[in-house]
Amino acid sequence: MAGLLKVSKSQQVARINAASRIDCSKPVTFIFDGQAYIGFAGDTLASALLANDVHLVGRSFKYHRPRGILAAGSEEPNALIRLGKGAYAEPNLRATQIEIFEGLYAESQNRTPSLKFDIGAINSVLGRFFPAGFYYKTFMWPAAMWMSYEHVIRHVAGLGKAADDHNDPDRYEKTHAHCDILVAGGGAAGLMAALQAACGGARIILADEQNEFGGWLLGEANVIIDGYPAVSWIADVVRQLKALQNVTLLPRTTVFGYMDHNFLTLNERVTDHLEKRPAHLPRQRMWKVRAQQVILAQGAHERPLVFAGNDLPGVMLAGAVRTYVNRYGVCPGKRAIVISNNDDAYRTALDLHRVGTKVLITDLRAKPQGPLVRAARDAGIEILEGHAVISAYGTRRVARVEIAPIDDSATAITGEVMHRDCDLIAMSGGLSPAVHLHSQARGKLKWDDAKLCFSPSATHEPSFNIGACNGSFDLATGLKEAVRAGTKAASATGHNAISLTVPDVTITKQNWHPLAAWKIPNGHLAGRGPKAFVDFQNDVTASDVMLAAREGYQSVEHLKRYTTTGMGTDQGKTSNINALAILADALGNEIPNVGTTTFRMPYTPSNIGAIAGRDIGALFDPVRLTRMDNWHRSHGATFEHAGQWMRAWYYPKENETMHEAVSREVKAARTTAGILDASTLGKIDIRGRDASKFLNRLYTNAWSKLGIGKCRYGLMLKDDGMVMDDGVTTRIAENHFHMTTTTGGATSVLDWMEEWLQTEWTNLEVYLTSVTEQWSIATVSGPNAAKILEDAGIDIDLSPANFPFMSMKNGHIGGLPARIFRISFTGELSYEINIAARHGLALWTHLMKVGSAHGITPYGTEAMHVLRAEKGFIIVGQETDGSVTPHDLGMDWIISKSKPDFIGKRALARESMGNDNRKQLVGLLCSDPKTVIPEGAHAVFDAEQPLPMDILGQVTSSYFSPNFNRSIAMAMLKGGHGLMGKSIYFPMLDGTVLNAKVVEPLFYDPKGARIDG
């Protein structure tokens, strides 16, 4: 790779020769900002860059300040990278989590033209004019300019660039999983808990976001567990867990959401770390886990200290520095200043010292003591007690610091300022337990005044917090908690609860009580002097926090939103506690009273592709097709969406326009014969002693007296009196009905009926079964319909006397059993042939074959709509919209006056239902017979009136009727029933006006003479 690119000369100058987790025998070449570098297998992009002495890796959001690598894990706020090229590019990834592989391609972000010379850095110089919330106070005049200002603001904002080609070539999957116990975090605590919980046979999932299990211990040099170095102990536990059938180990898997009823979401990065990604594997997989019990072992995050210049590249968290040294074999500096308010950073000082870095410790505490302090002293490390770094300087990397003695509470400088040169600052402000998942699941927090952190108290879901995320920073305590939680969780899920022995830990003792020092004084008046950052990513400084407090944004939630602290991609993992402590200080309040902001999913940003999974493309939503679908397709049909169904819309012959095709189809149905695939109609089989009683309550008309073999049209209302569905129902036997519903209404009508049966009329003996797919339907309509059926070999006497309109007969057609309904949506002689779905296609092709002699023409839904409109039949969902009553439709005839009740009856009697001003169904004839008024057009009496106009109502259906050779329409107009003969106007979108006459909504064959052919 990279034949053209020169590998950096200063190869891995910061690499040290010491035991680590990387494989120095496997060099890996990668590219950062056009420059090729070499790292080793096991490196993250961050560790590999540091090994090459690259500290400047990005620019900040607002001031475009140079930024480096702060942390070694997922809490990293600064080192955000655009990874990959073209369609594979992905912005805003944390360099600290990217595992390098051969050929990896990375770019820095938010800089123009280059990382080193970024013109946006002017913002930093002008920073004084851009305090928190500045844009609320400016860009107001002239008002018209805002959109231009905003345009510029938008382009300056944003972090990385999305992929260049938007069609993500990768595959993402998701899966459900169940377990007895989910363990989130596989550090010492999580591993131990998993082992304990698993040994009784419980089903365990252990997830850790890192590539290796072991957590914090992987970066620690001098820990002995059960007599072995910690990493050996880890390897042993992992080996034991791997051997267990009941344990699923998920490395590279972030538990990102913790929701109600122990539902957790995990993001597994399956192939992200591979140079070559097998095509059959997903890039990432989202796990949706239902756990009986949850053990949270997320560890803790170290806090930065807030001093001027604390955001320079080369200023790092002390624990991270230690991790780079011990885990990655990288020493990030040669002359280091350690600044700390606690013991832990002494470990970093010792490890740096061990690998040859010159170290100076500035300890904020006046009299630090204890074994670690002693060890540092013994090693000859210089320690300045009661001192602080008050300012750090440097252009693209820290170069120099000012150090001064401070008072006991770290609020004032008490003596001379001294200067030191350095290339690394390792800072430690104490630990904040990662209470994120616990809090997402609405667990409570309590403030620990000694450890200066929020730690979990009551849980809301069945869960345990253990180890550092429980505030138990001491390893031995963490392991003890792990054993206890593992045992309890196992027994809660009905498994063996014999506790393992808590491993024996040898580690230098330390004091876990840091000094409260939230903002380090720098000798300047408030707001002045170099900036001290709280939120690195969003460039929020300590003075921004204080300004917000001064301006009244005093709720921690207001502070967050006014300053944007904690709103970056890191969600303030390293900054939130500092921010709220500074706020508390500014308000003279206690930290626990100020409280935290709300913790929300996801723990770290989670790929949207993985959440969508495979529910995209063809699998986004099922397409439902009839059994005749293939025929329609091969005969050139175009299709229309009808809910999930695709229905044949019309069948254009070559060169035919839609208009021509539909006209031809309509004409055929009136003059010879048409055939429609009506299979999508909802069909419900209704059986039981009370079936007709039930129908009486369901429909507005009466059903008891319907004869066997007879069909009836019914209208269904909601209990608010509004039309909900319609269809024809047939009595098959005394207690057996066959109901049809609209295509779109099929599911909801069945659910509706079940609801009434199960919740209101529980005494009725009625059973409902959906048979929508059981039957395919071919509707043959037109004067030749009977002839076609006869030629098709029907064994029923089709004479109207024997088989009258609105009746049903069972018989055979072409030797196959069929149920035939003489009902008509076209007004012509018409047969709806229902046949077992397996024969649907055969029936259709057979009818087409025998029908060709009689001019049979397949027609689609559009022609069906024209035909029914000519007859003035409504379509629910087109003439109606949930606000239409039967009366509005002029269908009073279908409302039984004698039935004591039906659904919707009472509502129809409400005060406003009789208003003459309700919208009512009418027919329309456009003054220009060639013009089809667009559906949706709105009517007025006076098209010249000023806006807003007095609107009469809208056109619901509108077609060109080939039978009349003119346009026809239906409309819902205010007081429509009283408008017959009136002339009304339709202002069009293009400014023209159409004129129409209101007529009865029945255009064709008003006497119904054609129904028998």
Binding site: D260, F263, Q758, T759, E760, W761, T762, P900
Partner: protein, 123 residues
Amino acid sequence: MLIIPCPHCGPRDEIEFACGGEAHIARPLVENKISDAEFANYLFIRDNTKGLFLERWHHSAGCRKWFNLARDTFTHEIIEVYPMGSLPKKASARTSYSSSWRRGTLAEKAAKTGKHSQTEGRK
């Protein structure tokens, strides 16, 4: 993401269910003439309790049966599941039933006192 204990199928993920809103709303009979306002109590007015709430659920992708649930609308804790047409057994849920403003309203009475009552169950 709730786990809802279907009385027939056992605990299932909430995606299998549809929620039918407030439970125990009796449907007034048409012949018991009540005012439009009273009728609106049945049709539109809904208890919207913060805390323990009695509601109806439908196992739409399972057994297709309706049942009642006592659930806390703030904690999302499920306190009790009980069949259609019956009352909850847990004391807290019972109190929540009996203390509802709906008990004894004209709309509710109109459901019970029909001559040929159609309202066998209770929505």
